[in-house]
């Protein structure tokens, strides 16, 4: 559990108290942050809308001279920045003497230091654009911070009346007259919370919304983003927010551009792969085409040679032999190029013609003449035709 402490000055000496218990601290008491006494600090509010962020600190140092009467070398300050709805920027200055801060640092032993104002940032976010009053209720005094509709910010401390109703009246009287409608956020001890809530709700008009939180509630909202005071190294933003947003936009645009370029580069690589494939295929095709040409040339040469193969006379006669019957006797046979002329004697040359038809080697075979032989059953016949040998 987070634990926080606060200091009270009693009899000229600071005493450390834990927030969650009503007992004084001992050396074993361990806390995460120390809330300093408001009474040790002078709180001033100044507008810094036109001051560039990196020049704020210098500007405030200069401004303190007119706001705080102490010697500059004996004075220390820190500040919190607030921006209102109309983009008006304010710095709340926390000024004290150096020896007081040294005392706090000694007691806190390096722990975080804070003031009640450090706690309001989580609450102000919900009230942007409206007048809002923060009041911190202590035993004998009330600390008030006003963010008015007129874009003014004020801080003041009043001595607290003994009765709560009187104290509420005191605060209402201190508010600017023109504040018609506003949110009032009260921070007080856990014991006073319900009482103040009830009294304040009864006493203020309907146009005023009152919320009451215990200091412990506000402390519970402290996180790593909380802007503690008087840190050794104050976080300084090298680049202001507007510029940061612009740079972010530019970076996003450039990232988008790079991603776009990357997709196009990927397409480029794909095209290169395709071209490389086409190149190798083209090379392969050239080889295949050359092979095809070689084959075509060989086929041509082969066909040309086959055309030169002469007719085999022995083969022609062999093919003729089964066509003729045993009664057929060749008188003469002439074969010139592809044409043959046969003169023979035999029986029934007409059936012989049928057998010629069955042989594919002989085409266009014609029976030219048939002369029956005297005193014989045979006939003299002449046949001519064509020999087709592949």
């Amino acid at each position: 559990m987070k634990s926080y402490a606060y200091l009270e000055k009693k009899g000229g000496k600071y005493t450390l108290f834990p927030f969650d218990e009503n007992r004084t601290s001992d050396s074993l008491f361990n806390f995460k942050a120390l809330m300093m006494s408001r009474m040790d600090f002078d709180v001033k509010v100044t507008e810094i809308s036109s001051v560039p962020e990196r020049e704020i600190e210098g500007f405030l140092k200069y401004r303190i001279r007119s706001l705080y009467p102490g010697q500059p070398e004996d004075t220390v300050f820190d500040y919190s920045l607030f921006t209102t709805s109309k983009k008006k920027k304010f710095a709340i200055l926390f000024i004290c003497r150096k020896e007081v801060l040294d005392e706090y640092k000694k007691i806190s032993n390096g722990k975080h230091l804070l003031l009640p104002f450090t706690l309001i940032k989580p609450f102000i976010a919900g009230c942007l654009g409206e007048a809002v009053i923060f009041s911190f209720w202590y035993g004998s005094w009330i600390d008030i911070l006003v963010f008015s509709e007129k874009e003014r910010v004020d801080s003041f401390v009043i001595k607290r009346a003994a009765k709560p109703s009187l104290a509420i009246n005191q605060v209402i009287k201190m508010l600017p007259g023109q504040a018609n409608e506003f949110n009032w956020i009260i921070f007080c001890s856990e014991q006073e919370k319900e009482l103040l809530k009830e009294k304040a709700a009864r006493m203020v008009g309907k146009n005023i919304s009152v919320e009451v939180f215990s200091i412990q509630d506000a402390l519970n909202r402290i996180n790593r983003k909380t802007d503690f005071l008087f840190k050794e190294e104050k976080k300084k933003r090298l680049i202001n927010q507007k510029l940061r947003i612009q740079l972010l936009c530019i970076i996003v645009l450039f990232i988008f551009a790079l991603l776009f370029k990357k997709t196009i580069d990927r397409e480029q690589r794909y095209l290169m792969d395709l071209e490389s494939s086409i190149g190798s295929l083209a090379k392969h095709t050239t080889e295949v085409v050359s092979l095809q040409n070689e084959i075509e040339a060989m086929e041509e040469e082969l066909n040309s040679l086959k055309e030169k193969i002469p007719i085999d006379t022995y083969f022609v006669l062999s093919e003729l032999e089964p066509v003729l019957t045993k009664y057929t006797r060749i008188q003469s046979f002439v074969l010139e190029k592809n044409f043959f002329h046969l003169e023979a004697t035999g029986r029934n040359p007409l059936t012989l013609m049928e057998r010629f038809k069955e042989k594919e080697v002989f085409t266009n075979v014609k029976l030219l003449q048939i002369v029956p032989l005297k005193n014989s059953d045979k006939e003299l016949f002449k046949i001519s035709g064509r020999v087709d040998v592949e």
Binding site: L253, F254, L291, Q292, I311, Y314, R329, S332, K337
Partner: protein
């Protein structure tokens, strides 16, 4: 730096950024369009290549078969330096005699570019058939463009006149 200068600097910065990005996107979009066009073209080309591409191994086998067939066929043709008409005449003469055929007459004759030998022979029909068989079974192609066989005598003797030549391989003719 005052506010006016800061605003001007801001405007300048954004002008530079927008101009740079504008030019960048313009160039890249053009490049993308060009790439897409080329990719579509290349894909189409690749598709066509793949469809058209015959099987190379099949072609190699075919070429080898053709080469073998061609070599075998060429072998059956005489090359110019292998033979001449006279040496061929001696071969045929000897073959006729070996088959018992009587040569009545023989002569050389030229028909076009080709030279032939014309023989007039007489003899047994079987002998002539064996001669023709020897011509058919010859290692080289011998060409008989004309043959006339006459067997009218009826005693198994035939008279024949034939022309015979040899086939030459001439690359230029092919």
């Amino acid at each position: 730096m005052n506010k006016r200068k800061r605003i001007l600097l801001n405007i300048l910065l954004w002008t530079v950024v927008i101009a740079f990005l504008g030019i960048f996107f313009f160039l890249e979009i053009n490049r993308k369009a060009d790439l897409q066009e080329r990719i579509a073209l290349s894909e189409e080309q690749l598709k066509r290549f793949r469809i058209r591409m015959p099987d190379e191994n099949e072609l190699i086998f075919k070429r080898d078969d053709l080469y073998k067939e061609l070599a075998e066929l060429k072998h059956r043709f005489y090359f110019e330096q292998d033979i001449d008409t006279y040496r061929f005449g001696i071969i045929i003469h000897d073959l006729l005699v070996a088959n018992g055929l009587e040569i009545n007459r023989y002569q050389t004759m030229e028909v076009g570019k080709n030279a032939f030998l014309e023989f007039s022979v007489r003899g047994n029909a079987l002998g002539f058939a064996l001669f023709l068989k020897s011509v058919s079974l010859s290692d080289k192609y011998w060409h008989i463009p004309y043959v006339s066989i006459n067997s009218r005598s009826g005693n198994g003797v035939i008279n024949s006149v034939f022309r015979i030549g040899y086939e030459k391989y001439n690359k230029m003719d092919n």
